[in-house]
């Protein structure tokens, strides 16, 4: 039976951390972020500069240097790997495609935000890089590990944003909430 829009069925969408988050323990809260569209951009050979130009024109931001995030109104571009960054927020403009491999990643990632007094101390239990504000200020991005998971972490104004595989959403929440409990427990123990 076709519906008005010509479709036979209706598919409903679920967020990766549906039913798992948010979690608040002690001074810290872990919540799911709706990142909008996520698009992997991988500049073709010799197209770095052209891609940055196209990004600037279409989205108001450049292709980030390693370990950096570029930001514009409603959009950001997070460095994620060698010759790779994620445009987060808007749908990618068609003008990018000649300069880069453009791949939709909107559904591939659990995107969570860890915010609050102990956020850095919590991730210090899981992540083998220095995330304290002096070493990892707003605008910094890193691809690293969170316990056994490969993650991309960047510092937003609101807190630390962590991206892990969508399929690992439960593990991500489990590991971080476990560390949150431990840090809160230390605080309580004095």
């Amino acid at each position: 039976m076709r519906m008005e829009d010509g479709c036979v069925v209706e598919l409903t969408a679920l967020m990766p951390c549906n039913g798992i988050l948010p979690i608040t323990i002690g001074e810290t809260t872990l919540s799911e972020v709706d990142p909008g569209r996520i698009t992997a951009l991988m500049p073709f050979r010799g197209q770095h500069a052209a891609l940055t130009e196209a990004l600037q024109a279409a989205h108001g931001l450049g292709f980030p240097e390693p370990g950096q995030t570029t930001v514009a109104e409603g959009a950001s571009c997070v460095w994620t790997a060698r010759d790779q960054a994620f445009l987060m927020g808007p749908a990618p403009d068609d003008s990018l495609a000649p300069h880069a491999a453009v791949t939709d990643q909107s559904d591939a990632w659990s995107v969570v935000l860890l915010a609050g007094l102990d956020a850095e101390d919590v991730l210090a239990r899981l992540v083998p890089i220095d995330l304290r504000p002096a070493a990892f200020p707003e605008g910094a991005a890193a691809r690293t590990l969170c316990q056994h998971m490969s993650v991309t972490i960047c510092r937003r104004a609101e807190g630390l944003q962590i991206m892990a595989f969508r399929s690992m959403a439960r593990t991500l929440a489990h590991e971080i909430s476990d560390a949150m409990a431990s840090v809160a427990g230390r605080r309580a123990a004095g």
């Binding site: 010799g46 390693p66 060698r82 691809r143 690293t144 590990l145």
Partner: protein, 88 residues
């Protein structure tokens, strides 16, 4: 142990995957005799001293790296991208 990735900076060893001798970079030509291929793939020195090995920054930028280090003193002399920067 820490390695300084040319892209990501100093990182803990756990982010890296160890592969083996960097001789793998010098792949024989398709027409090389079987003995050359077999030697290239299988024969390795095991020096107490300077080595050049391949590492993969698997939990980082995903770059393959050639790391020159000393197996006795543990000193790391250099970490280079396998894919030269000017390939771009």
């Amino acid at each position: 142990m820490r390695l300084t990735c040319p892209i990501c900076g100093p990182r803990d060893r756990r982010e890296f995957y160890y592969q083996g001798d960097a001789v793998m970079l010098d792949r024989p030509g398709a027409d090389a005799p079987p003995q050359v291929w077999a030697d290239w793939l299988h024969l390795r020195d095991n020096p107490a001293g300077r080595t050049r090995d391949l590492w993969y920054h698997e939990a980082g930028c995903t770059a393959w790296l050639a790391v020159e280090r000393d197996t006795v003193t543990h000193e790391v002399f250099s970490v280079e991208l396998v894919e030269s920067a000017d390939a771009d």
